[in-house]
């Protein structure tokens, strides 16, 4: 009995000792799956950490969820892509000044067989109308993310209520971009995605880009510090350092230098 207890105690001790981590200053950034899964953070963060010694811990969620997490005070900085929702977040007093960082674009992907006959089109709204008219399968995020919000705005412009196709051709996966693309690939459905996630996505199956290059597919990213007067524990100094670095010439150049193969994924466009 005693020996058993001793073994148990020493195990607990070992585990608790290894559990103690080096005390390093860190900030928590609520960001989106598109920036994480495209590999951008893996490219950016080491440069910033080396320069400042501040560790950046990224929690990747949909934009809606990321903003909610920051509203609860669980993040120091928000780095997302839904300008309307970001403005609201700042107007409510949860965030300090929002700054634009970079953009990439959305693309519509779909099966090579192209049941809605839209391959090669540059008109996303027309493509949406044709998908709805053809009743071709369409996989939507359905998760209140920035991408989902952009997708819904386009349906509205097209004058189509996708909810009428629910249970039929319009399929909400209620999950992140990657899982939604996995679903689309398995069902040979159309899907609306940011280019970064698409470029780094490997399980494409028969999917190809069918519509790109429309002005309305522009996808702007913004960054802001969570308001320390709402949440006093927010690491104001370190968080602001990260925001400032992202919009600095060095940060912007680092963003521009991230490529997958020959493709640049994000285009810095801060206004200073």
């Amino acid at each position: 009995m005693n020996r058993f207890r001793r073994v148990l105690l020493s195990l607990v001790f070992v585990l608790s000792v290894t559990g103690v981590q080096a005390q390093q200053t860190f900030i928590t950034v609520a960001s989106t799956t598109s920036t994480e899964q495209s590999g951008l953070f893996k490219h950016l963060l080491p440069v910033f950490e080396k320069k400042t010694g501040i560790q950046v811990r990224v929690v990747a969620l949909g934009t809606g969820q990321a903003l909610d997490m920051a509203r609860r005070g669980d993040a120091d900085v928000v780095f997302v892509h839904d300008p309307a929702a970001e403005e609201k977040f700042v107007a409510e007093g949860f965030g300090l000044r929002r700054q634009e960082v970079m953009y990439n674009d959305f693309v519509l992907v779909g099966p090579k067989s192209d049941p809605a006959r839209i391959l090669g089109s540059r008109d996303i709204v027309d493509a949406y109308k044709k998908i709805a008219a053809a009743g071709a399968p369409f996989a939507s995020r359905g998760d209140k993310s920035g991408t989902h919000a952009a997708e819904l705005r386009l349906w509205k412009t097209a004058g189509v209520d996708p909810q009428t196709g629910k249970g039929g051709w319009y399929r909400e996966t209620g999950s992140g971009m990657g899982p939604t693309l996995n679903t689309a690939s398995a069902m040979n459905a159309y899907a609306f995605t940011d280019r970064g996630t698409w470029l780094s996505f490997k399980n494409r199956g028969d999917l190809v880009i069918v519509v790109e290059g429309d002005q309305r597919l522009f996808n702007q990213y913004g960054v802001m510090l969570v308001n320390p007067s709402k949440h006093p524990h927010v690491k104001r100094e370190q968080g602001q350092a990260f925001v400032d670095w992202l919009v600095s010439p060095e940060g912007q150049a680092t963003i521009a230098s991230y490529k997958i193969g020959p493709d640049q994924l994000f285009f810095p466009n801060t206004k200073r």
Binding site: M1, L8, L11, V12, L15, S16, T18, G19, T28, T33, Q37, F41, K42, R57, V58, V59, A60, R71, R72, G73, D74, S175, G176, M177, G178, P179, L181, N182, S185, S200, F201, K202, N203, R204, H231, H233
Partner: protein
């Protein structure tokens, strides 16, 4: 089938150390799940024993509740712990959300019902068998409970391993309270979920094979210890 082949190749590459960062993920997985199981055992084994030998009003209802809680969905536990530890929540000032500690808390909550409910059953069965014997020796209920824990220790090890299996395999709770932060709270299961969403199915499955191998080794180790102990103590 080619994807399965790729998965095994990926698993082999991972084990052979081609992929950096994996060691940290594996160690964190073990650290979090083992800590959770140890803490849960320290609470749940005495609890199970107490319910097994105790006689009190509402006992039957408590047993039903414990048995039902074995089916607690990890996501729900994750969400509850998240709301508890969030800055806006009652324990927010601790600031342990998105740390391994939060993950240990969530998995502990998840594992306690499993160990408590199963050990209650095992110890109660033993209690029925030795009831008279223990009483004739003049053992009080608490000391009878301790004796029974010791007597059924080999069965209890299996139960603790079941708890470990649950902790090491779940993804819903650690994803929410840990946040899957690279290098800080990324464990095997959340890494598998991430690679799946990146569409890198072979790598995801490869990680799954590594996790399975690890659990297998741990179980083999437990079996070995049990074998040695049985030989030594009969």
């Amino acid at each position: 089938m080619s994807e399965l082949g790729e998965a095994f190749a990926a698993a082999w590459a991972l084990i052979a150390g081609v992929e950096p960062g994996l060691t940290g993920i594996v160690l964190l997985s073990l650290q979090v799940s083992l800590s959770a199981v140890l803490i849960a055992s320290a609470i749940a084994l005495p609890l199970g024993a107490a319910i097994a030998v105790g006689r009190f009003p509402g006992r039957q209802a408590l047993i039903v509740l414990l048995n039902a809680l074995m089916g607690l969905p990890p996501v729900v536990v994750g969400l509850l712990v998240y709301l508890l530890l969030s800055r806006a929540g009652p324990m927010g000032s601790l600031g342990i959300l998105f740390t391994p500690t939060a993950m240990v808390v969530a998995q502990t909550v998840l594992v306690i019902p499993i160990i408590a409910a199963l050990s209650r059953q095992v110890i109660e069965d033993a209690w029925r068998e030795y009831d008279e014997q223990l009483r004739s020796l003049g053992a009080s209920r608490p000391s009878a409970a301790l004796t029974l824990i010791w007597d059924t220790r080999f069965s209890l090890v299996t139960i603790v391993l079941a708890g470990f299996g649950r902790a090491a395999a779940e993804v819903g709770a650690v994803m929410i309270v840990g946040g899957n932060i690279d290098g800080v709270t990324r464990v095997m299961t959340t890494a598998i979920a991430l690679e799946t969403s990146k569409g890198d199915l072979p790598l995801a499955l490869g990680l799954g094979i590594v996790l399975l191998t690890l659990v297998l080794l741990l179980n083999a180790l437990a079996a070995l210890i049990r074998e040695l102990a049985t030989r030594r103590y009969g």
